[in-house]
C-alpha cells in the first residue's frame, strides 16, 4: 500500500516492475494449474516467462538502478534468450498438442494420462 501511494510522487523503481512481474507470474501459475485446455496451459507458460522477463529487464535497466550493481546489458541479453527459448518451446508444445488432438480427438489434458501408443 505504501508503495502504491508513493507511486505518484516518487520515480519508478525496480520494485514497481517486480510487482508487475509477480502479478504476471502468479497469473501464469494459476492458468497452468486450472485450465483444462492444453493451449490454455501453454498460455500460462507464456505468462510465467514474461513475468521473469519483466524482472530481468528491470534489474538491467539504466533508468531504474544506479550503474553500480546493475545487471546492465546482461539482463536484456538474458531476456532475449528467454524470448527465443519461449518461441522454441511454443513450437514443440504446439506440435505435441496437435498430435494429441489428432490421436484422441480431444484437447482436454485430463485425458492425457496414458502413454499407450
Amino acid at each position: 500500500m505504501m508503495l502504491l501511494a508513493s507511486l505518484l510522487t516518487e520515480p519508478i523503481g525496480v520494485s514497481h516492475y517486480m510487482v508487475v512481474g509477480a502479478v504476471l507470474f502468479t497469473c501464469g501459475v494459476i492458468c497452468m494449474a486450472t485450465k483444462r485446455n492444453a493451449l490454455g496451459v501453454l498460455m500460462g507458460i507464456e505468462l510465467v516467462l514474461n513475468g521473469a522477463n519483466v524482472n530481468l529487464v528491470a534489474l538491467g535497466s539504466p533508468y531504474l538502478r544506479g550503474s553500480e550493481g546493475s545487471l546492465g546489458l546482461d539482463g536484456q541479453l538474458m531476456a532475449m534468450f528467454v524470448i527465443v527459448l519461449a518461441a522454441a518451446e511454443a513450437a514443440v508444445a504446439l506440435a505435441i498438442a496437435l498430435n494429441f488432438y489428432n490421436s484422441l480427438g480431444s484437447i482436454d489434458i485430463d485425458r492425457a494420462d496414458d502413454l499407450k501408443g
Binding site: 525496480v14 509477480a22 504476471l24 529487464v57 533508468y63 541479453l77 534468450f81 524470448i83 527465443v84 484437447i107
Partner: protein, 203 residues
C-alpha cells in the same frame, strides 16, 4: 505527476489486467486475444525501462511469432465442445487462494529489498535516450562494448560476450523447429488407397 510514472501505471495496469482476464476467461479464443494485449503492454514496459531492442523483439518474436503460432493452434483445435472448457469452481477457488498467497509473498518480498527501492540517481539522465541495439549485437558477436571502461582488468577478462550461448541457442532453435515439423507432419492413414495402391486408383 511525471509522465514516465503515468505511462508505467498505464502499461502495468494493462499487462496485469489482461493477464488476470486470461486466467478468468473460459473461452480459449478470448484468452488468446487477452494474451496478445497483455504481452504488448509488457513490451511497452520494456520500452519504458530503456530496453528498446528487447521491447522490439518482444513485439516481433512474441506477439508476431509465438502468439500467431498459438492462435493457429487454437484455430486447428477449436471444436465447439473444446472452445469453452470450464474448470470446477472448487479447483478455481483453491488455485485463487494459493495464487493469492504466492502473490502476497512475492510482492511483500520485492517491496522490502532496500536495493530495489526507487532511487533518485538513475545511471543515465532521464532525457538521454538509451540505444541498446548495437551493444547487444556486439555482445552476441563476442565483444562487450558497454564494458570497455570496466576498471577491474580481471573482471574485463570474463566479460567476453555471448557468442557461445548465441551459438547454442541457434542450434537449439534449428533442432527444435525440425523436431516440431516432424511431430506435426500430416500423418498418412494406413488404409489410404491413394498412397498404398496408386496404380489401382489411377486405373
Amino acid at each position: 505527476m511525471i509522465w514516465s510514472s503515468f505511462l508505467f501505471l498505464l502499461c502495468s495496469l494493462l499487462a496485469g489486467g489482461f493477464a488476470i482476464a486470461v486466467v478468468l476467461s473460459n473461452n480459449i479464443v478470448r484468452m488468446a486475444f487477452y494474451l496478445v494485449l497483455s504481452l504488448s503492454a509488457t513490451a511497452g514496459l520494456f520500452f519504458l525501462a530503456g530496453a528498446d531492442f528487447v521491447g522490439a523483439m518482444q513485439l516481433m518474436i512474441y506477439v508476431g511469432g509465438t502468439l500467431v503460432l498459438l492462435v493457429f493452434g487454437v484455430m486447428l483445435t477449436a471444436q465447439t465442445p473444446f472452445l469453452a472448457m470450464r474448470t470446477s469452481s472448487g479447483e478455481l477457488l483453491t488455485a485463487l487462494v494459493v495464487g493469492g498467497v504466492l502473490l502476497f509473498v512475492l510482492a511483500f518480498t520485492v517491496t522490502n529489498v532496500p536495493a530495489w527501492q526507487p532511487t533518485n540517481t538513475p545511471a543515465v539522465e532521464r532525457n538521454t535516450p538509451v540505444v541498446t541495439a548495437a551493444p547487444i549485437g556486439m555482445a552476441l558477436e563476442g565483444y562487450r562494448v558497454d564494458q570497455l571502461d570496466q576498471p577491474d582488468a580481471e573482471l574485463r577478462q570474463g566479460m567476453s560476450g555471448y557468442l557461445f550461448p548465441f551459438l547454442i541457442v541457434s542450434v537449439h532453435l534449428l533442432v527444435v523447429l525440425v523436431g516440431a515439423a516432424y511431430l506435426a507432419r500430416a500423418r498418412q492413414a494406413a488404409n489410404d488407397d491413394v498412397t498404398n495402391f496408386p496404380s489401382e486408383v489411377r486405373g
